[in-house]
Structure formats: C-alpha cells, structure tokens
Assembly symmetry: C2
Homo-oligomer: 557 residues x 2
C-alpha cells in the first residue's frame, strides 16, 4: 500500500462524517473548541506559550521557501508590544512560477488523495493550536479563548468543511463511463473520461482580524480542487498564517509531494505587493477578505480578466427589537454581541432598531430610552466582570478603529461612553469599550454606513415593518453578514424572514443565552450569502467550490 | 391532492432517471431523436408542416404578452423566402417588471414543484417538435432532420438535463435542521432553515444557428432555481423560440401560475434592444451564445456590476491526424464533420494538422497532399450523395458567412473549391459546399482565427507534438469547443489528452462511423468547459446551475 493510499483510508471516515454534516447541516465539530488541557494535553498551553515566545524577535525560518528577495514584517501586538519577527519576502513571479510547477503534479492526484493530504496537513498543524492561538491573540487583538477558537478549531473546521464540500463537488459526476448509444440494430460505444481541471493559481488575501478563519476556506477549497494557493497575508497578521503554512509545507514535503502548492506571501504595509500578485496573468482565483474600498478596487481592476473573485467585504448588520418574552435575556445577548472582540467581527450588530412606542414585553411596553439605558447596563455588567470581561473585549487591532470610536462619540445622543479597559499584564494594550449612541431615524447617512469596531446605534423607528424595510434596504445597498430579530409574533417573524433572506441577510430570531447572531458555525451556517454587497463568497456552498475547477471530457472509440 | 403535488408525483420518475444519467454520464435520451411517424404519430409531419405554414405572413399572436410597444420581425429563410411573421415588441422595463412580479411567487414553490412544472412545459411543447423543426430549418438553414433533432429532442434533453442538475444542486444541503450543540451538561438547540434565493432575473441572448439548443440550458437552469427568464432572441431566429415560449406560457397559465416567469423579447437587427435588457439593473443572470466580439463587449460592459455572465462564444477547433488503422474511415468521419450544417456549428473542425512526413497507416505513410486529396474526395462523395448530401449541408444562415467562404478561397492552396449546392424545391437557397485550403504552418495569422462556416484548413506540421502544442496554444488564446485526435499510439494519446484537457479542449479520439467530434450529447458530454476563451458556460455542470441561486439561512431559538 502506498503512502497516499494509506492516507486516503485513514482519513476517509472523518471526510465522510464531515460531508454528511455538510449535507444535513447538523452540529458537527472535528476539533473540540475548548482550549482545555484535558483535551489537548496538560502541557499544551505552556508548550504553546513557549513556542509563540520562541518566534518573537527573530527571523521566521520555518517556511522553507528559498530565494527570498528580501525580508519584511513589523507586526505589533494590539496588547502593546512589537513582535519583532521578520519573514522572507518574494517577487510575485517567483512564487507564481513555483506554484505552477507544483500544481502540475498536484492536479494529477485524485480528489480523494488531495482531500486526504489536506486533512493530514490540518491534523498535524492542529498540534499547534495553542501557539496559533497566542499568535492570533497578539496580531488580531482577540482575547486568548476567542483567538484559540477562531484560528484553531473553528478555522480548521471551516477548512475541513471546504475540503469535504469540494470533494463532494468533484464526485457529483462519474469520472469515467462506457457510453452506449443504441442505433437501431447496432450501437455506438465510446470510452468517456471526465477530467477535473483546476482553473489556475489561487491567491488568498487575508485580513488582520481573522487571518485564518476567513482565509482557510478559499485556500482549502482551491487546494482540494487541484489548484495551488498563495496566501497573501495582511501585514498586521502574518504570524498565525506563517505557523500554519510552515506546518503544511513540512507535512506535504514529508509525504513526498511538492510543498509549493501552498506558499506564504508576506509584506509590509508601506511596501505592499498585493497588486503584483492580483494582476499576475497566472493568478486565476482570488479570495479576499477585508474592507469594502479595497474589495471594490479589486473588482474594478480584474474586470474583464476572467479571474474568479470571491469576496467577503463589509456589511452593516441590523437588529430589530420588537417584542420579547425576556428583555433582560435579549439585551444580555445583544450586549455580548457588540462587546465580543470589541465589535471587530464582520458579523457584529451595529444598528438596533426599536419601535418608537417601545419594545413589547410581558411587563408592558419599554420605551426606546429605557431599553437603551438597560442595554448600557448589560454591557457594563459584562465588561466589568473581571472573569469574562477582558477576554470578551480583547484589544483593538487597528489605530484607525480606535480613532473611529472617538469620532463616533459626538454624532448622536450618547447612551454609553467608550473608555479604555484593563487587560491585565498588558499596560499598553489598545482598548475601547463599547460606545452606544442613540440616533434619530433621519440620520440614515450615519447608520447606513459601516462603523467597524465597538460602536452601536439605537434607532427608534415608526414600526416593525419600517425596521424590516430599512434592514433590507441597507443590506441591498451596503451589504450585511448577519441580522437579528426579536419578536414574539409568528406573523411578523415570517414576514421579516421572507424579506430579509431575499436581501441576502442570514437572520437569527430571538437569540438568548450562549448563542449569538455574530456566530457562524462550520458545517451548518453558510457564512456570507453572495447576494448583497457584503461579498460574493459563501462558506462553503457549491458556488464556492465548483467554480474552482472545470470538468473536461475525452472520448475514445 | 393539489395540481402541483400531482405534477410532482407524475414527473418524479423521469427527473430521477435524468439525474441518475447526469451522474453516471451514461447514454440517456428522454425524447427519441428520430423524426419518425412511428414515434411521434403518422400525421406528425403533415401537422407540423401545416402548423409552420400557418405562422407565415401573419402576426404571431400566441404569446399572450400584452402591452406591446410595437411590432418587429423580418426573418428570412436561408432556403430563400421571407417568413413574413411579426412579433410584439416590448420595452425592457415592461418585461423586467413583469418578470419581477412573477418571480416573487415562482421562488416560493419548492425546487421539486418548479422542476415538475418545467418538465410539464417541455412535455407539452414536445408535441410541436415537427413545427419547431420546420421553424428551425427556415431560420437557421439546418437540414430538416438536423433541425428537428437539434431544436427538438436534443434541445429538450439539454433543458431536462439543466432542470435535473439544478434540482440536485438545490437539494445538496438540507432545507431544515434541528441543530443541537452540546455545551457541557446542557445543549443549545436551534431551528435552522436554509432558503433557496434566486439571484434575480435571467436574460438569455440567443443565436441564429442554434436558437433553442444553446438557449434552453440557461433558461431552464435559471427557471429551475427560482429565477424568471427573458429570452432575447436573435433577430434572424425568433420563430422556434416564440413557438416554445407561447406553449410554455399556456402551460404555466393553465397550471394557475403567472406565465411571466418566461417571456419573449424579440427585435429587429436594425433596432436592437439587447443592451436595454443587459444593462437593466434588475437583470442579474445573463446567458449568451454568439460571436466573440459581442461576447467580449458584453464582458466589458457588465464588468463590476455583479451580473453573472455565462457565455458560449467562438472557438478554433483543431484536428490532429497522426496515425490511423483506417484512413478512409477517419476521413469519412472528418468529411461529415466539416459538411454538417455547412460548418456552422461552434464545434465544427477547422484546422486539420498533419505531420509533414505523412499520416501513418497500415499501408504506410500517406503524405499531407495525398491525404488532402482523399479528404476532398470524401466530401464529394458525401455531399453529392443525393439521399444524404443536401440534408447534411443545409443552407447558409447568414450572408456574412457566405461572403467569408468567398474571401477564404484565395488564402492558400485550394484543395477543394466551395460551390452552390442543390436544395430541391428551394431554388433561392443560400448554399456553399465545403471549402478546403492547404496552409503553410507559418500562416498562423490565418488559422489561429475562427473562420465560421464551411471552411477548413489542412496544415502540415513538423510533428505530432507540434500539433498538440499548437492546438493547446490556439485553445488558450482563441478558445476551442471541440478537438479531435487520430493516433494509434497509446503514449501519444495520453500525452495529447493531458495537454488538451488542461487547455479546456474536450477531445475525441479516433472517431469513425456515425459519431462525430462536433456532437455533444445531453446527460453525458459537458458542452463548453469554461476555461478557455470560447466561453464561461459548461452545459450543465454545477457551476452552471449553483451560481444562479444563494442559500440563505435563518435560525430561531
């Protein structure tokens, strides 16, 4: 038995279970989400800390990508210190030519073989979850538990989801058939073969807030379908990607394959190389996560080039608070939603629409003003809880976001002021607690924009219907990646569901307790819908995977 | 039982068989391809003739599309007479608004219901196959048997293929699940629903040579996934589409649904309305078949608009004649390939590469010159066979094509001259028998272009490898929709297969007898590969169907 055959057998059960979960959308997680010593080994945390610290203030030499044109890297932890790590820098053409060479043998593996190799890459890299967690914490600013989950088990599950979906897509049609066409008393017999042909080299352009979670689907969907991939990291969040790619390349090399199917392209913010890659003629698939302005520039520049583009840009996410059986539970839930990672999730709620005459509760109508006051109290009690507050908030990744919070403070009636928060042991952390502003319905020039960061608006509106209509209009014109509706009326729920799904808004109803509208679970929740300006990608539907390869037939007599 | 439920039950067996054929790629045809009275009824031909003649020199009033802004239509049969039919003309906005209204109820049907309604539309329209055949013959110029097959059973099978594939794609993931996430001793339970959301209104822009075969996949894939569709016909080939759409609309109306999910948009060549539709903000999906120049203009004009575009433009199809066990059989096959419908198929061979030292046969090497001479003889014996010649050739759809044949006559050494042919009963038919020219390998500026029509080139080249390389280069830069290779050497075959499939060329090896590289069979051959400049569409892979809808989730506690 060859090494690849053995690998296919070893991983087939997990791939089948993942594929079944994809189909049924039932809960499934291959990697447990708790950063627990009981699961990952009692020394895992200490080992991960040491491994992370071992990378600091050094050249990152684990990639085994030769022929660098120079060095780059100046990441700074949002918790207040420079990582001091440098990485090899490369010309676009160097990496693209290597990717082409590697792809030419990678494409010849069967889809099952590719899936097995990729799962082996994930399994081996998963041994470094704690390291990846600390690397993510100190590039994105996420609290450690979130960083562990988002870049560890959740990102890896999204990768597995993409691999399983891509594998299923490649097996939808038979690879070979003896085709027999009856012709009266005789028949024509043809030996037909159907070849999976990758579209070309993938470029995945990462973001600074979710460097793995948002990049792995594009990378793994591309690899699984026979393409090589180049990961262009955000200059602010290279390390978590570098650790994973170094591990993947070691695994691929040890399996006797060309590791250049996956390469790292790092750069500095003041000397960006992204366009060199984007515009390279052999880059055929581009996955992008990040701001809308760059995303739209990308769309314009590749227009007419036949490059395929999958985007997750920004959205303006809305909440409609109409009626609830438990206003405290609803506001607790929303308070967590706006506080988690200081609102730096693309799915974080921004606009909270409340009927002017109040939220209907078992205790009667609660005015927008009273609801807003209670909301601020809920945020306070969450973030000033020493046990869970700091880890929930984390730090602010980017100076621009911190400045935005300051700028937003004066645009309406302040319900809750933003202030620095304590991150024990990190006196220089860049922090900002949630700012809550009440806006007038007429200030749509303000709330129809995205205010990325810990900024949310409470907006009294005429009616439930008006709130639904506004949410749909905003989604259609500015995008949305999540939506939340609180209503106890079945008719209103049905109406909101019908209108919002048409606008491409994945909508959560009446969420309370430990589940939030911000969250999107691999194998069950499609992330992004691809039908509003928030982006064209949906993790991981058939559009996301089946557009990365062609099926080309050959027929022989 | 409701009418729709009954329809779903009645059609489920055929849809299952079609889906199974799609998966296995085995031979399948729902509608028999022989225009035989034994199959379609002894009076079918006479009835179809009468029905066709009944349309001539009148206003086409069967569409039941009210509110026309005027009339259009000046189709002329390539067999030499004006059809004299006028059609209602419409403003783009009128049809688009109606499509939006109709789509809003159509999308609410289940995928199974939509598929059943569409199959019912096809079954009822299939009663008019002979009429559709004559309408196709007298707009495209195809011989009757070919017109019957291409616009009847073959087009309808492509439609059924698209419906079955679209249905499968919509059912890949569960529509609903009770999601249970374990949380220590408790669990979170969510009711999740996954909604199929159509992307918007489809516009299918048809061509003059295959008005149904090339348009049905886009129309039916769009309809099956919940979109409404508007068929923008080529001004030269309206009638076959009008007959079908009139029938579809009657069927849909009789089922109690809004027929505006499918509408006809006709125009005249001197007052085209295509851009009004293409650029309308509510047109989201565009299917296009036709020349490369217009196709590229389409790509440029919609760049950055988020409209999805599926194209089948032109290609330069190559044949490599290296070695064969039976040169006569190979050349008979190729002679039919270049003669069928006077070379007006997007899959017709154009360039025939032959090694300079000759074709290897059991009788020894046959020089390019001798091969060319024999090829011309094979064409003669086919087209001068009174029984099958005229029907094989048909007439030339377009004056531009006829002029191209004249222009091509002097660009190399003439092997076989083109001349008018006899079409009994049609003294004014526009005809041209196949022109065969021998070119020098260096005349690549000539043979790297498409010469649409009955024009083929014999090009002696240095070697088999050179021929394969040229074929791949031409496909990558100018597109290809078919390719044919004759070789008895397994190693050469494998090499050609590997190189050509990478260039997106569906390749046929050693075809002899009644099967031709031009042909593409529904349920088995993907038509178009989407990875060379010949076009982005592939009938009907998952890319073709799964990009027409989104899946949007809703989650409730």
């Amino acid at each position: 038995m060859t090494q690849l055959t053995e690998l296919v057998e070893r991983h087939s059960a997990v791939l089948s279970v993942a594929a079944a979960a994809n189909r049924s959308r039932e809960f499934y997680a291959h990697w447990p989400e708790a950063p627990s010593g009981k699961i990952y080994g009692e020394t895992a945390n200490a080992d991960g800390t040491a491994e992370f610290e071992g990378y600091l203030n050094k050249f990152f030499d684990g990639l085994n990508q030769e022929g660098a044109s120079g060095r780059c890297g100046n990441e700074v932890s949002p918790y207040g210190f420079s990582l001091g790590i440098t990485y090899p820098a490369f010309d676009a053409d160097t990496l693209v030519q290597r990717a082409k060479t590697a792809q030419n043998s990678w494409r010849k593996l069967s889809p099952d073989e590719r899936a097995a190799v990729l799962l082996e890459c994930l399994e081996r890299a998963a041994k470094h979850f704690f390291t990846i967690g600390y690397a993510t914490m100190h590039t994105t600013g996420q609290g450690f538990v979130m960083a562990f989950q988002a870049s560890g088990p959740h990102a890896f599950d999204r990768a597995l989801e993409a691999v399983a979906t891509a594998l299923a897509a490649q097996k939808e049609f038979a690879g070979q058939v003896e085709w027999k066409k009856p012709m009266g008393k005789t028949e024509i017999v043809l030996d037909k073969r159907f070849h999976i042909v990758p579209r070309g080299i993938n470029l995945t352009i990462g973001c600074s807030t979710f460097p793995l979670w948002n990049s792995f689907p594009g990378i793994f969907a591309s690899l699984a379908t026979g393409n090589a991939s180049i990961a262009k990291t955000h200059p602010g969040a290279i390390l978590p990607v570098a650790i994973c790619i170094a591990s993947f390349r070691r695994t691929i090399g040890e399996l006797g394959l060309n590791p250049d199917i996956i390469q790292l392209a790092a750069d500095n913010a003041d000397a960006p190389v992204t366009w060199d890659f984007v515009l390279h003629k052999d880059i055929a698939l581009i996955d992008y996560t990040g701001g809308s302005a760059f995303g739209e520039e990308l769309e314009r520049k590749i227009a007419g080039t036949h490059k395929m583009l999958y985007t997750e840009k920004a959205g303006v996410n809305c909440v409609i608070l109409d009626s609830t059986e438990n206003l405290d539970a609803a506001l607790d839930n929303l308070a967590f939603g706006v506080s988690l990672y200081s609102g730096q999730m693309c799915t974080a709620p921004q606009n909270i629409f409340i009927p002017k005459n109040g939220v209907t509760t078992p205790e009667g109508l609660v005015t927008p003003e009273d609801t807003a006051k209670k909301f601020a109290e809920k945020i306070d009690s969450l973030i000033f809880n020493e046990k869970i507050g700091p880890g929930t908030l984390g730090a602010v990744q980017n100076e621009v976001t911190a400045n935005r919070v300051v700028a937003a403070a004066s645009i309406g009636k302040t319900i809750r002021e933003s202030a620095p928060t304590v991150q024990a042991g990190f006196g220089n952390a860049r922090t900002a607690s949630p700012l809550v502003i009440m806006l007038d319905e007429k200030q749509n020039d303000v709330y129809e924009r995205e205010w990325f960061g810990p900024i949310s608006f409470i907006i009294p509106v005429d009616s439930f219907d008006a709130a639904v209509e506004k949410t749909a209009v905003i989604a259609r014109s500015h995008g949305a990646l999540s939506g939340a509706v609180y209503t106890v009326e079945a008719e209103k729920k049905d109406k909101a569901e019908d209108i919002l799904i048409q606008a491409g808004v994945p909508v959560s109803f009446n969420f309370t307790g430990p589940i939030w509208a911000n969250q999107s679970a691999a194998f069950s929740d499609f992330h992004g819908t691809g039908i509003n300006p928030a982006g064209s990608a949906s993790f991981a539907d058939y559009r996301f995977v089946a557009t990365r390869f062609a099926i080309v037939g050959s027929r022989s007599k």
